[in-house]
Amino acid sequence: MPSMIVNGLNTNYQLLPAAAQAEHSEPQHVVFIHGLGTDSLASFYLTLAPPVAAAGINVISYDLRGHGKTDRPDRGYRLQDFVDDLVDLLTQLGIKEPVHLVGNSFGGTIAYAVAWQHPELVRSIVCIESEPPTAAWAEKMKNILAATMEFLQIEDSYDWIEANFSAHHRRLARLAGQRITSTSMAEEVPLGPIMTIEQVSEITCPVLSLLGSHGYQADDLDALTSLLPRGEKYVFDGQGHSVLVEQHREVRELLISWISRHATESV
């Protein structure tokens, strides 16, 4: 798997070139951004990446810092670090055109922050169970990460995970525990930078928010899209936070259709 130094870290990435393209048009680029903890580029690469490339779209996926096969420094996990990584990755890959950012959970938060700080780089956002980095998001992340830290430091927790899910989930939790407890991730991620509500409402690119009706935004499924000037949402009924993994076929169709609709979006 290819890797290169991005923002000072050896970063694992995968490119899947568009299999075919429409006449007289250059293929669009989509960047898949995975979530925190147990996640890696595999969650996109083994679900959406091949069919999206087959639909004529160039696919870029990469392991975030501290995840998969990318370097895991002890410190350096502010949201800003993840934003700078993505911007440097695009620069080093020589991507000149604005891209579609597709983020899962925390990956979508990175996408919002990039669109805020570098609007010229982003043609559209598709976020899966994600929120922009507002003060409310930071508080929620702080609590989730602190609870996760506490839970994963109790040995009995792993027995509970295996009994209620599977031995595979036990292993994933163990790995996530190592990532979170051996680094400053839990402490630094919620530091942001934080966007104000006004700044969120100034994100002008089109945004598609994919939500589980029982996911992390279940308390108000309209809260985010009502802020965004060009926000649309799609809710998976009866679905929790794991929209990407459990609904990947439908997500794939929505994504391919979305990119086709927004291929000529100017920024």
């Binding site: 995968q14 580029l41 599977s166």
Partner: protein, 104 residues
């Protein structure tokens, strides 16, 4: 034993050998790679290792072997429970399809 079975076994042997090389020797883990060996559970590998292995298979067999594309059609539970035999069977089917298309 038919020729097809022989080549099926040969494909498994090649897939197992590539996997053994990727993980730096299954014997170090105290595991023997058989068709029933589970990628995640028995070899203690992560999904990201499956992505790496997909690349190794394409490099070794050719672009007609696209494990990632095959897995994209599957549910998570099927991917988690995937055995080395399942992967070899997929590779073998692609080899047979390629040979058929070249022979026609």
């Amino acid at each position: 034993m038919t020729n097809n079975q022989v080549s099926d076994e040969a494909t498994f042997s090649r897939v197992a050998s590539l996997l053994d090389e990727m993980i730096g020797g299954a014997d170090l883990l105290g595991v023997e790679i058989t068709p029933q060996t589970r990628f995640h559970e028995d070899l203690q590998l992560e999904s990201i290792d499956l992505v790496t292995f997909a690349g190794i298979l394409t490099e070794s067999f050719g672009s007609h072997v696209n494990l990632a594309q095959y897995l994209a059609e599957k549910d998570l539970d099927d991917v988690i429970d995937m055995t080395v035999g399942d992967i070899a069977a997929y590779v073998h089917a692609q080899e047979v399809a390629l040979a058929g298309s070249e022979g026609s």
